[in-house]
Subunit: 349 residues, 4 copies
Amino acid sequence: MADTKVRVGVVGASGYAGMELLRLLAHHPGVELTYVAGNHDESNPLPETFPFLHGWDELRIEAFDAELCARRCDAVFVALPSGVSGGIAVQLWRMGKRVIDLSGDLRLPPDQYEAWYQKPAVDAEALAAAVYGLTEWNRPLVRSAQLVANPGCYATAVLLALLPAVVAGWMADGQPVVVDAKSGVSGAGRHPKLPYQFGELADNFYAYRVGRHQHTPEIEQQLARTGGGQRVLLTTHLIPAVRGIYATCYIPLARPVPLAEAFEHYRSVYAGEPFMHVHPPGQVPEMKHVRASNRCHLGLAADGRSQVLIVMSVIDNLQKGAAGQALQNFNLMHGFPETTALHAWPVYP
Amino acid sequence: MADTKVRVGVVGASGYAGMELLRLLAHHPGVELTYVAGNHDESNPLPETFPFLHGWDELRIEAFDAELCARRCDAVFVALPSGVSGGIAVQLWRMGKRVIDLSGDLRLPPDQYEAWYQKPAVDAEALAAAVYGLTEWNRPLVRSAQLVANPGCYATAVLLALLPAVVAGWMADGQPVVVDAKSGVSGAGRHPKLPYQFGELADNFYAYRVGRHQHTPEIEQQLARTGGGQRVLLTTHLIPAVRGIYATCYIPLARPVPLAEAFEHYRSVYAGEPFMHVHPPGQVPEMKHVRASNRCHLGLAADGRSQVLIVMSVIDNLQKGAAGQALQNFNLMHGFPETTALHAWPVYP
Amino acid sequence: MADTKVRVGVVGASGYAGMELLRLLAHHPGVELTYVAGNHDESNPLPETFPFLHGWDELRIEAFDAELCARRCDAVFVALPSGVSGGIAVQLWRMGKRVIDLSGDLRLPPDQYEAWYQKPAVDAEALAAAVYGLTEWNRPLVRSAQLVANPGCYATAVLLALLPAVVAGWMADGQPVVVDAKSGVSGAGRHPKLPYQFGELADNFYAYRVGRHQHTPEIEQQLARTGGGQRVLLTTHLIPAVRGIYATCYIPLARPVPLAEAFEHYRSVYAGEPFMHVHPPGQVPEMKHVRASNRCHLGLAADGRSQVLIVMSVIDNLQKGAAGQALQNFNLMHGFPETTALHAWPVYP
Amino acid sequence: MADTKVRVGVVGASGYAGMELLRLLAHHPGVELTYVAGNHDESNPLPETFPFLHGWDELRIEAFDAELCARRCDAVFVALPSGVSGGIAVQLWRMGKRVIDLSGDLRLPPDQYEAWYQKPAVDAEALAAAVYGLTEWNRPLVRSAQLVANPGCYATAVLLALLPAVVAGWMADGQPVVVDAKSGVSGAGRHPKLPYQFGELADNFYAYRVGRHQHTPEIEQQLARTGGGQRVLLTTHLIPAVRGIYATCYIPLARPVPLAEAFEHYRSVYAGEPFMHVHPPGQVPEMKHVRASNRCHLGLAADGRSQVLIVMSVIDNLQKGAAGQALQNFNLMHGFPETTALHAWPVYP
């Protein structure tokens, strides 16, 4: 662990992922938070913007200024909307900072990005330098990365569920992997919109962006890099809940795999991982079991009557799906134990 | 419409489906509610048990008595737990009553029932006489039925979504239809259990009975009767919401079907149906759009990259999934317009 | 009941109260809905704006046009925000229409209105003509009214709780009546705002406009008209729920009043009222017991150790607190039975 | 801080307060958790009972055994239902352990206890030895206590709001302090009951135990000890939320107190307190702002038209209202910094 503290900035602190980063960084013994940028109309002491943050009275949310940010920080988290975030991340990276971008801007090659995001991509050199920060599967590259593309929330939950099956060579060819995924509403951000009003979402549930969610190519790209060529049919839904992602993955198998064998394999793949837990057959993961933690819980089930392995995966979208995994990557990049400031147990009930 | 009122009984009025029946029957112009049975410890005027029912002060919830019930009623709804409900329904049917059973007891042949429900089946003669009450698909038989097996809540949502594809002959053979279904908690009944406590379910979401939900054979049986031999891989989940079912169905197609063609077909299959609505492509159904109504809304989407048709289906599990469809069947059996006492618009927000 | 139908318009149909009016009017046998105005960007067939309303395909939400509205309607409900609603209501009333205004614009004398609403009042002549539509307490005037100021949601719940104590002469002088009131979020309207986002309101609860809620003078005015001169200390809170108001009223008594006597008095005051229910001592009203109905339930409790009568009052803010009471007044004004289209039982669970 | 770790036991770990203690103790550097007792049917590794606790695989929930508990522990938290908890706490205290009891059993003199709890009190000697653990107001006694009666959740929120006004001598005599308090459902415990089922509580809100909540005498006793003789009229309500208490307190004043003066006084009373925050006038506390933290936020408002000071107080009922404050007292008793293992920021959103 470094002798002096790492000077850290958070750009996009008015959003939920940025807020969560502040909350986590507050207890990081190796970090000095030196810069916080967010919406200009919230340029006031942090506790006035977020009354639950009082105690951090000296810090202010400032309008973003790249020069100032670079001067004050060694490392920066950028948690802005896609289309804005990547450009700022690249700018700071070019100024010699270690940068973790939480948006989708640095995760795909330009043509894929522009097809799925309908926005211009950042330059190809930066994209080539960006390391995909799915920590458990990409440690060596993350450790030495200067620029990290932090994975999407759905992509994280789904990849942690699918990759063990890919490396085992179990997946059938030619049939898509159906992924029926559901998310709490904090994944949609903090900007007020009618569908996310309490009166509209309470007691509601529905699919959205069916067949065209932008995490689809991100998932397929990682499957391919790990040796799998499957198509993923991702359908995302909104749950009347605040935090959490639940992904139910239906994996057509190339050969019958007994459930006990699948369990042993998954357990051994994730043995020693501090944030991973694989439930024994018969138990299902619950979304609330990981709330406000950086954990991912997996459950396995077989359909006795077809050759399909069902893998259920839960994460907290603001932690393992965003700020938590970003901090996990930060820890890895800076030589801190990976669990630093991420050891909190889930909040239950 | 009959000149005199039909004398109607509700057995199981302490549960949610039974309560919903009371609420609906209250405004039925051709019905006289003459008998209400439920938990004995609630043997008191209805409004004391259900303060929202005051105005019906003369009625009492009584402990069930078959003789009394048969004497007072022409028709009876039985809404008790599986394993109890069917026996009582058959008993009343043998006494010459027209009976609608809301449980799973009369929906499957004995061997299937015993395999999936782990309980002894009712006698085969009664099972043979019971008509499956999926109203939109079984009108002629329901109209003359004396004993109706009212469909399961999941089965209703799923069958209304799948059957148009079956009759069109679109379904591929050899691949299972993945049905990822989600339900509000009222489907689990009113008996207090830890997982359904507010503190446990709020902000939670999880799968249950994965690969072994008892509505699976019920769905497959109707597919087969309509000409489809597909296996259904049904996974059910619990939503932190009270009412509603959302079924996302992934149908592997035998040939490419353009989305516009699928929409026209679905719309024409359900043309004139008072409770069915098919959204045009691009719109998705929302669970809340049918709340407290007998409607079923369907939405269609294609996965452009695999030959899968996605059909989303929503119902209110206590209405179209239970009490509402039971009343719809009752109306059909007794010559009332099918929408009688079922015309209420969804309650929104 | 009139032989021909009353031609009715709803102005403000994009908001929650307006939507609720549409839902209720749909089943009114004496009404023809001939005009619906709302946000211009929703100028399309009603079912596209509100998918739960399909079946009413011929109607469109139009941008408001006074001439058109007057030409098409005999009676108009105006459910727009305060500051806009009253002006339009008065305009239509001057054109000879019978008008029910759901905003706060016509409820207070100009000086009070301007002090509490911080907006200019409508002209004094119109204010003088407007009848306060607390139906149970103002029937004779409502019956012949041409212009009705429909009461506020909090004011309705609180006045129905307090007025029986006023007419009994029980209230002590010199001490304020503390009213601790709570509301579901639909009372805040449908326009998206950060505090009403699901992620912000779920698991939250807080007071707002403490000591300065604009329903305070409206309540005191009616107390005074009924013979009470008490001050009301109204504190309003937001509940993480969609529909409903719960008002807990602490009435300092001039003399000890046994609880049984209080109960008998309240029950006799509201005897025969179709929407009022007084719980016997020992029972408390629950907010959900009146959901989606026009009912008001009251409960009474004594504090054995101080001379305070506690009256709890629940209504559905969109029904008895807005659209339901407006329709109740409409029925009274047009000679329909008061319960017409308002007979629905509460939706439970 | 002690050189060796304190060996700590938790009795009642199956309940919500016990679970929260486990969660907090897990990160306490001076504690070794050596004993966990709870429901016998959950006698298995902790992570199987509470899947969110995996990582603590060696610990088991055992059926309570006083001898074993005393042998393994230096200090014990007892978090059982009232009527059971106090007896066990006293037993362990007599065995020389330092004990913190989270129930109501040790908070009142025998006559008061038996009148409000309807159960036999523990012996008077133990009651006399028990120190009331409202940390901020009772530090010297807690520091040297062997037996602590941890305050009730409502009592904590209310006393922290009222005591500054008491010591200032502001309270009027002869008029009760009206306290309108609301709680999330986790305060009702983890044992399944119908009213706490999700289907019953969602979208609901209601008062309970009106005029007879057992925290009333506990509050009055502390007011009296601090020099106030006021009666408290406490009404408690249930919120459809999991964690949190919101107390709205209406304090009749003996003389006018400007709001600015009240704010300065409250702020100075709580200056330096790590868990207390007083909002400036114009801001209100929100329940969610303290969720999953040990904080108490206070807000002040004046009713300009009557001489009443309104104080709003929020806590998390499972933390400052139970496990958090218990741990705060434990820290004080054992010479740890008071914030040890309690420094987590609120979880938001």
